[in-house]
């Protein structure tokens, strides 16, 4: 393998890895505060991509119910607004955040109040994910959606990481995703470690009962956590949708499974770990030798299984001490 190939693989790995990473951050954030895996994260990731699409004033395909609804109401199968992409991205994320809060309120809070087994929360989140994905399909139809071209305006479509003679292009959107991942981690680390809100988050994560006895409104903190996780997940979903196209309502769910490998690899609940796990997985997939390329998809799950069996706390997690 030539040096250029290695470099290309590394860049591909980083690009794919950052996608995994930004998905995983919201996933692991919920786990770090609530010790649950929220399978609905994939659905939220997806729904935000659709929200943003609507907000850019783009058209809905004929198979979605919204097609008829909007045509009757607005005269055209689209929202009568046309926000610039970055605004639509943020508003879409905010809407996703609201959805996240709603999910907490209707699907997770009742379980918390009943002191339910985390397994039941898992199942509940699965049920919610199924319902949401099918709702999306009902409203939007199952076809591929693509965002309008040049969403970020007139910036070059690709960045050259090589030289003029041996160009190594990487699509600009992938570079953007990489930087967004870094920014998110820096933001979250700052939030959790240096703010009062972060302290409350950490208190709730350690011991929700004591935290509430100390005057922390745990329900509000948890709602905020869901909002934040969904907002970040939403932004991520839209960016990934721009990068690879929105392949259908199940677009986010497929990341959900690989996302499990990422968060376990990085350490369940560890936020920088989510980024590291994502990058490691991306690189691992990029360096699969050509003769095994058919098995590339299995790399994530092989890693997941091996990490669990050998070092369940992942790269950055601390080994749990079991008290007798």
């Amino acid at each position: 393998m030539t040096l250029i190939n290695v470099w290309q693989n590394i860049l591909n790995g980083l690009a794919v890895g950052s996608v995994y990473a930004i998905f995983a951050v919201g996933y692991t954030l919920i786990f770090s505060i609530l010790r649950i895996i929220n399978f609905a994260h994939g659905a939220v990731f997806t729904v935000s991509a659709y929200f943003t699409y609507l907000l850019t004033g783009s058209a809905i395909n004929t198979n979605g119910t919204l097609h008829k609804l909007f045509t009757d109401g607005f005269g055209a199968p689209a929202l009568p607004i046309k926000l610039p992409f970055v605004i639509a991205l943020l508003v879409g994320g905010l809407l996703a955040g609201l959805v996240g809060m709603l999910l907490d309120r209707i699907a997770f809070r009742p379980l918390r109040q009943r002191g339910a087994d985390p397994l039941l929360t898992l199942v509940s989140s699965l049920g919610v994910a199924v319902a949401m994905v099918n709702l999306i399909q009902y409203f939007f139809g199952a076809e591929i959606y693509s965002y309008p071209a040049n969403p970020f305006g007139n910036i070059p479509a690709a960045v050259n990481f090589g030289t003029a003679d041996t160009p190594v292009p990487v699509r600009t959107i992938q570079v953007i995703i990489f930087f967004v991942a870094i920014v998110i981690v820096i933001f979250l680390t700052w939030l959790i470690n240096s703010t009062k809100l972060g302290k409350a988050l950490r208190a709730v994560s350690e011991d929700a009962v004591t935290a509430s006895l100390l005057g922390i409104n745990t329900d509000r903190i948890i709602m905020f956590t869901f909002f934040l996780s969904a907002f970040l997940g939403g932004i991520s979903g839209t960016l990934v949708g721009v990068s690879v196209g929105v392949a259908g309502p199940y677009f986010g769910i497929t990341y959900g499974l690989k996302g499990l490998a990422v968060i376990v690899l990085g350490g369940l609940g560890d936020i920088p770990g989510a980024i590291i796990g994502g990058i490691v997985l991306g690189l691992a997939e990029a360096f699969v030798p050509p003769q095994f390329v058919a098995f590339k998809e299995a790399v994530a799950f092989l890693i997941l299984f091996l990490v669990l069996v050998i070092r369940p706390q992942g790269i950055l997690g601390r080994a749990a001490v079991v008290k007798v």
Partner: protein
């Protein structure tokens, strides 16, 4: 009656097989292990049947002999058991969500392997699997006995030494350890039982569905099985069966609602998890059926006196 069965034979047989798959998840759960590995063993069983019947056994013309199906079941049982021990011994040292994740990984690895192995037909899979019966409804002759045998087995198991060991581990693994029960060995036994059941169901399903590919036995199915158990009832043998029968029939019953049925299904799962944490069929419910209504008992602060879990008598 015959009319009903020709129309609904496929559905009824599917319901029965789903109930059996729910039991395959129930078995490790009795020992406190949430394993989502059943679809993997189901897929293996199906592939064994598919490969054996299309490429190895060459029976003459006419319906496929039942004794060959039984041989396939035996092979599937042995292979599933061996694989279950191999995978179970390292994986079952994990607890809770970690074990569930390891089993998810196992199923996905198997799925991707099966997509890419030529002998298994790659992405297209294997089709034209020979049929021992003429109609799909007749598969009930294989499915129902299997389900009943599994139910009786589990029902009896609960009242024996090993069943008690399962429950002990489910309740408190450390205390069970201190009372002389080998936790890993016991968990592997429970896991292997579930694997064998799933593998055998897979054999039946392969003939039933006539084709077999990597889409049989995926993470999605394990969600379904989990729902059958958690909603049907995770503390008695009848729970998963009721859950499997009911929740398989439900999308059909709701067929009139078109795309709403999956939305409803998802909502039902979430609602079930919230309001029926023990599932619908609970031990308390069962003992009320058995003994008739309880004579009025003074409530003692939410305690349920005289109700036992697990082996009743």
């Amino acid at each position: 009656m015959a009319e009903f069965y020709t129309t609904y034979g496929f559905l009824i047989t599917s319901m029965v097989l789903a109930a059996a798959m729910a039991l395959s998840l129930y078995l490790p759960l009795m020992a406190g292990q949430l394993s989502l590995a059943s679809p993997g063993f189901y897929a293996i069983g199906g592939y064994i049947a598919a490969v054996l019947s299309t490429q190895v056994f060459h029976p003459g013309p006419g319906p496929y002999p039942l004794y060959l199906v039984l041989i396939e079941m035996l092979v599937a049982a042995l292979v599933s058991a061996a694989l279950a021990v191999l995978v179970g011994v390292p994986a079952l040292r994990l607890r809770g969500i970690y074990l569930a994740l390891a089993t998810i990984a196992f199923v996905e690895i198997l799925r991707i392997l099966s997509l890419n192995l030529p002998i298994l037909g790659g992405a297209v899979g294997i089709f034209g699997i020979p049929q021992p019966f003429n109609t799909q409804g007749e598969y009930i002759w294989l499915g129902l006995p299997l389900l009943l045998i599994a139910m009786v087995f589990i029902y009896r198991l609960e009242r024996t030494r090993m069943g008690r060991a399962f429950y002990a581990i489910r309740e408190d693994e450390t205390a069970a350890d201190a009372m002389g029960i080998n936790p890993t060995a016991t968990k592997v036994i429970a896991f292997t039982m579930g694997a064998v059941l799933a593998g055998v169901v897979g054999v039946i399903a392969a003939h039933f569905l006539n084709t077999w590919n990597a889409r049989q036995g995926t993470f999605d199915s394990s969600i379904n099985y989990l729902a059958y158990v958690l909603i049907g009832g995770s503390w008695t043998v009848f729970g998963p069966v009721v859950g499997g029968l009911l929740l398989t029939a439900l999308p059909e019953i709701l067929r009139g609602l078109a795309s709403f049925r999956f939305i409803l299904f998802g909502i039902l799962i979430a609602v079930g998890a919230i309001f029926f944490p023990q599932g619908i069929i609970t031990p308390e419910l069962l003992s009320r059926f058995r003994r008739g209504r309880q004579p009025g008992r003074p409530a003692s602060g939410g305690q349920q006196a005289s109700q036992t879990h697990g082996p009743a008598k």
